[in-house]
Symmetry: C2
Subunit: 234 residues, 2 copies
DNA sequence: CGCTTATTGTTTCTCTGTGAGACAATAATA
DNA sequence: TATTATTGTCTCACAGAGAAACAATAAGCG
């Protein structure tokens, strides 16, 4: 495997994806660990010279998760001069056994366009890329240090997600098709980082006329069984 | 004057600013008309190789309006392959008497990062750039056709401004320091594109505790004089 | 089976904020 | 002094959210 060639990609421009998932009551994101360096980073990539920006991000997401048709939103273009550190990039490449030329394009200044994605945790089959030996879920509340300005990117993505949450009714993208009201509320609580009142939440969701009610879910627990809901398809 | 050199700027990346102003009850934006072509476009520019993205946008804004310390928000990175038309760019350059080489960098594919700015209409001294022979205000409700995808950029910027309006209390950036409640309401109405109730608007603004009340404004009209307000500095 | 427990779905009461309109205050004019 | 236009405030009705009560029910246990 040889180094990616400059001629194939737009120089100076990368994308990074903050991929949100929800499991065991916690909001999590995907991080990659680069081979032999211990460095953690957001999954990202480059835009091909004849490729739409959105398509590039979708392609990268598909390669890491096997998912198409993912809910995606652009967050922000990060463009400070010092956000990128060529020394770190060189270290990552060299740890993979590449001989990196001095003027290599991946060592130049990079702008990064951040996106966030919402996915159903259960549908994912994770695949590391050629430079990383692992990809996995990390709790948003206990993130380790990431390379470059990736911690800032995550913060901004979470802010944007919170702002969009009510306006765009996107909470359901983190759940399987059918879910209980309690699970939906847990998603909202994990995203907003605060508890909500059960009765008010239920009343509000039902009054918005966006949910279909289905059969009850019998869990074997000794109490009233909750209904399952799904988001209306229209 | 010679053509801008590729070596000074980040290739493939431009910025475009939607500069909002408010006068005579109308919301307006700044547009440039390119010399001898009749083509209209948003004021924009390129990012220098060692310049922060935000600083580049501020620099461009300062050169066009003479304003520093402007309220700025990033809107969106536009990155479709076909958003840019090298033929139009070539036409603009040649109309200014430049001989454009075939591989000239400004004819390549371009991504554009859109910003919006809010400015006090009265403080501006407009200056066209070297390629354009006029810069001026155009009503947001009656915009002409713009080059590339600039009409789309304006729409998206207006959408973002509307979404941010209440959350960030930014309406005052379009007014002089002191203003009447009626003027503030007019700004909100122009941005949102709809009339609001005078009494409810006043009650809401006052209850938010963000305004200082000053002396009355005597206009010479035969009716009660309104108070002047300013946004609290804190 | 009857009782208990935990959780869910619904209802009630209260409080706040908004729409709609009434009403009082007032700067200039006739 | 009365009139006019506009402003600042108040009142009433209504909708939505917080808080809590209440009713329904699936399973466990005697």
């Amino acid at each position: 495997m040889s180094l990616p060639e400059s001629s194939q990609y737009i120089p100076h421009l990368a994308y990074d994806s903050v991929v949100f998932g929800f499991s065991r009551g916690k909001l999590k994101i995907l991080l990659m660990e680069y081979h032999d360096t211990g460095l953690l980073a957001l999954p990202g990539g480059f835009v091909k010279k004849n490729e739409n920006l959105d398509d590039a991000v979708k392609r990268g997401l598909y390669e890491r998760t096997g998912l198409k048709e993912v809910y995606l939103e652009q967050v922000h273009l990060f463009g400070k001069v010092d956000r990128f550190d060529p020394g770190i990039m060189k270290k990552i490449l060299e740890a993979n056994g590449y001989a990196v030329p001095d003027q290599y394009w991946m060592l130049d200044r990079f702008f990064s366009i951040a996106y966030y994605a919402l996915i159903d945790w259960e549908k994912v089959t994770l695949k590391p890329d050629t430079l990383s030996d692992s990809i996995g879920w990390y709790e948003i509340d206990h993130l380790p240090d990431l390379i470059f300005d990736h911690n800032q990117i995550v913060s901004k993505a979470l802010m944007t997600l919170r702002e969009n949450l009510d306006r765009k009714l996107i909470g359901g993208n983190l759940l399987p098709e059918k879910f209980t009201m309690n699970e939906l509320q847990s998603v909202y609580e994990a995203i907003l980082g605060q508890k909500m009142r059960r009765t008010s939440f239920q009343r509000k969701m039902l009054s918005m006329d966006i949910l279909d009610r289905h059969e009850k879910l019998f869990t074997g627990k000794s109490h009233k069984a909750p209904y399952l809901y799904s988001f209306k398809s229209t």
